[in-house]
Amino acid sequence: MMKLNVNGRDHEIEVEPEMPLLWVLRDELSILGPKFGCGIAQCGACTVFLDGEPVRSCSVTVGEISGAVTTIEGLMPDGRMHPVQQAWLDEQVAQCGYCQAGQIMTAVALLEAIPNPTDEDIDNAMSGNLCRCGTYPRIRAAIRRAASANAGA
């Protein structure tokens, strides 16, 4: 039996320690926001926070972690959209939407590390997250919008 804290809640799980965190979240805990895209940390669709740091949950085994996990579901504990999500809505980023939970998690982490990122910072931070629909211009715009909302607050 292993313990896993996800979005502020403790879970007891009985799985093989080498099971990737992604499949624990999805198949054991029915937390479906993190998505499977590649399984080798190349697309970022499965991005979650581990103790506040973004990780690719497909490539982290549940046995090797002890910290608290935050998924897109944990971004809005009071039910209100996170400012980055609001910027995503305002810029109408999502097309199919499949990669967007991962994009948003990466963007939240970027803005926590660099509240006012340059275009180069944005491209560097976000280049690990693939989007086949090509929403990239709007992802950039949403991050800029969220950053300026930060600055204004």
Binding site: V15, E16, M19, P20, W23, R26, D27, E28, S30, L32, G33, P34, K35, F36, G37, C38, G39, I40, Q42, C43, A45, T71, I72, E73, L75, M76, M81, Q85, W88, L89, Q92, V93, A94, Q95, C96, G97, Y98, C99, Q100, A101, I104, I122, D123, N124, M126, S127, G128, N129, L130, C131, R132, C133, G134, T135, Y136, P137, R138, I139, R140
Partner: protein
């Protein structure tokens, strides 16, 4: 097919009310062309009762929408949603004519009623999403459905309030009468649904539109796609459901000779290992168990009939064929030989295009469940639903109407889920059957499965030849296309006329330029690699070849690329208009800063015309970056202008990724690429700034999901030529420098 259609045509008409309905539904279902039966309403009512998962009572208004007792409007979409925004477009059409509250609108995909949902652009006999036709097939149908429902609500309110229908106004989901009476749609939904369908409905005049053409309208599904709650096929989780991964043949056409699953069966969580006609399935309690189990299965393959060739061998064969006379002729104007003979200068070029994978973010999947009553349910990305119902029914031995399809949203598709053989859909049924239907089964492909199981944009070689006269005028043009037919040996085989698969030559046989002598030839190849339409289909390669070659000819003629194109176009033509718009917005004639270069192209696809001007920069090491793209778009009336922009932005990203770095290659029949470490779609750091300018148009909407793709490759290649002096003729682009 024919007996079924006959049956529907002779359905008895019960009474005058039914007769009126029949007329209206006929008009709705088939654009007025074919009379269809009363049964449509019955079947849609059945669908409606299922939409009420929230416990509210929903009633059907035509097969196209339901309204529940809270006033929530559910648009029942014939078109599948893979990100392109068709659901939003259909919702806009319905909400506009219904005068609904936009926040009360939701959309659900539906299938299983081809009379109502058949795609008008495909002739109406098949339901399907593809060819950027969602707006084309829905434009009249879904507006009329909204208008009919509005009229029924008004009639119900008039009857209840004892007033004249004409005195009632509807705005933002509220019915109102000057006497002060008001009500939401929910109050009258049940009564209204029982009202006779109006014989005819009057659609709004464009001046009265509030939602159609509204650039500020937000997608109805934005929130759920931003907070992680949107449900895709991968998220389907039925009670007792098992998850299977497949072991597909390592070469196309190989078959299982034998397999040893003993070790796999002992992997914790593995439930079963079964053989299906499409390979071995490892069935687990969850995905990870299935993946671990798969690693332990040993399979011996029979590769007798497999495609064993490698990419260099295939390309050599294609190039050899391209140098010979074409097998079929797709276009012939004038006398091309005479044209070349009389030309002052003749230019030739050969272009090579690789196989491309769709690589949607959600790897392919489907869920199948057999019910105790013998019916079958399948959850998936049902881009060709009638086909999947038929194929699934055949596997189980039931009629297609006993196969219920749950149309899920999917994480992209780009054509990949519009398959003739139902691939992952039938796979889910095969696996469920192989385990004796003892549990619902989700078949989930991994990225490697998705990339290696075929259905690629075909590989092509083009040889082009152009002749110009002493004044630089283009007098002769020939294009010989060599590659696999997408439609051959499929249900679409009948579309091939005189040996020409239209999807192989589209964009090449309809060049807009006035060229007196031209031929477009086709040689279709027989290769065992499964191919498919890939976002913008034939124009992915035809537009590249034609539009870079035109640039080369313009240079040979000593002319500006835009001015040269315009000299061969009617000034009023859509191509000329978007070219001029793009040139103006990109300030084509204004010199660029040092190190910046421009290229232009224009292409028509799926009824729309898009011109793009790409601006590239070079660095000291000879690297290039696409900095900015200005697009001018004529897609008829833009129902959702912001979504038109989104599709063109995304199309540019999709097309640019392909020419910069995507390529599927084979070594002895095996696909070399398996994941995004080696198959490299565009990432954000290579995405240019995109400006989209939409031409104001009163014409009915034409395609937009795909037409943004074709012009980007040639526009960039033409800019790269300006920058580096190298013509780009082998894809992906870097190969042109290594060649």
């Amino acid at each position: 097919m024919i007996p079924k259609l006959m049956q529907s045509l002779v359905l008895p008409v019960a009474n005058a009310k039914a007769s009126r309905r029949q007329f209206m539904l006929g008009a709705l279902a088939a654009g007025g062309g074919v009379a269809v039966g009363y049964h449509i309403l019955a079947s849609s009512t059945a669908a409606a009762s299922e939409t009420a998962a929230d416990g509210n009572k929903a009633v059907a208004f035509t097969p196209y929408l339901t309204i529940d007792n809270t006033g929530k409007v559910m648009v029942l979409s014939s078109q599948f949603e893979m990100g392109q925004g068709s659901y939003n477009g259909l919702a806009t059409l319905v909400a506009e004519e219904l005068d609904a509250d936009w926040s009360s609108i939701d959309v659900q995909g539906v299938a299983g009623n081809v009379k109502a949902y058949g795609n008008v652009a495909f002739g109406g006999a098949i339901q399907g999403t593809g060819g950027s036709t969602s707006m084309v097939t829905s434009w009249e149908r879904y507006r009329k459905a909204g208008a009919a429902a509005r009229a029924m609500l008004v009639a119900a309110a008039a009857s209840e309030w004892g007033v004249q229908p004409a005195e009632i106004t509807v705005e933002n989901g509220v019915l109102a009468h000057p006497s002060g009476k008001t009500a939401g749609f929910g109050a009258f939904a049940a009564k209204a649904a029982a009202m006779p369908l109006p014989v005819d409905v009057k659609l709004k005049q464009p001046a009265d539109w509030k939602l159609i053409g509204n650039a500020k309208l937000k997608r109805f599904d934005s929130t759920r796609k931003t907070n992680g709650t949107e449900q895709y096929t991968i998220d389907v989780n039925l009670p007792g459901m098992l998850t299977a991964v497949m072991i597909h043949p390592p070469m196309f056409g190989a078959k299982v000779k034998s397999f040893d699953a003993a070790a796999a069966r002992s992997v914790k969580g593995v439930v079963d290992v079964v053989e299906t006609p499409r390979g071995i399935a490892v069935v687990g309690e969850h995905m990870w168990a299935a993946i671990k189990g798969r690693e332990a299965v040993k399979v011996v393959w029979d590769d007798t009939d497999a495609e064993k060739r490698s990419t260099p061998e295939l390309m050599a064969m294609y190039k050899d064929l391209a140098g010979k006379a074409p097998v079929a002729i797709a276009r012939k104007d004038g006398d091309v030989d005479a044209g070349f003979a009389a030309a002052a200068k003749v230019i030739e070029a050969t272009f090579e295009f690789p196989y491309l994978a769709h690589s949607a973010m959600e790897p392919l999947n489907a869920v199948a469940r057999r019910n105790e009553d013998g019916t079958l349910e399948i959850w998936g990305g049902h881009q060709f639903p009638d086909v999947y119902q038929m194929l699934a029914g055949q596997i189980v031995g039931i009629t297609p109407d006993k196969v219920q399809l749950h149309v899920m949203k999917t994480g992209g598709s780009f054509g990949r889920r519009a398959v003739f053989d139902g691939d992952v859909v039938v796979e889910s049924v095969y696996v469920a059957k192989a385990i004796g239907f003892r549990a619902p089964v989700k078949v989930q492909w991994t990225r490697e499965d998705d990339m290696r199981a075929g259905r690629y944009r075909p590989s092509y070689v083009h040889t082009l030849k152009a002749g110009i006269d002493g004044d630089g005028k283009l007098v002769a043009w020939s294009d010989h296309i060599v590659g696999q037919s997408i439609m051959a040996k499929t249900a679409f085989d009948g579309m091939i006329q005189n040996g020409v698969d239209p999807t192989s030559v589209e964009g090449a046989n309809n060049l807009p330029y006035a060229i007196p002598n031209q031929t477009v030839g086709l040689t279709s190849t027989d290769v065992g690699v499964p191919v498919l339409w890939w976002r913008s289909v034939g124009s992915t390669h035809t537009a590249f070849a034609a539009e870079t070659f035109i640039d080369e000819i313009a240079e040979a003629a000593g002319r500006d690329p835009i001015e040269y194109r315009l000299s061969m176009l009617d000034p009023q033509s859509r191509h000329a208009v978007v070219l001029k718009l793009a040139a103006e917005k990109a300030e084509w004639t204004k010199p660029l800063p040092k190190g910046r270069f421009r290229g232009v192209s224009v292409a028509e696809s799926f009824g729309s015309v898009v011109a793009q001007i790409a601006e590239v920069s070079t660095d000291d090491s000879g690297g290039i970056k696409v900095e900015r793209v200005v697009a001018a778009v004529d897609c008829g009336l833009a129902v959702n202008p912001d979504q038109v922009r989104a599709q063109v932005e995304g199309g540019i990203g999709f097309g640019l990724g392909a020419i910069l770095g995507e390529e599927i290659t084979l070594t002895s029949g095996k696909v070399d690429q398996g994941n995004f470490d080696v198959y490299t779609p565009l990432r954000i750091d290579a995405m240019p700034v995109v400006e989209v300018h939409i031409l104001a148009s009163a014409n009915p909407p034409s395609g937009i999901g795909e037409p943004g793709v074709p012009p980007i490759g040639p526009a960039v290649a033409n800019a790269v030529y300006k920058a580096l002096g190298k013509r780009i003729r082998t894809m992906p682009l870097a190969k042109s420098f290594n060649a």
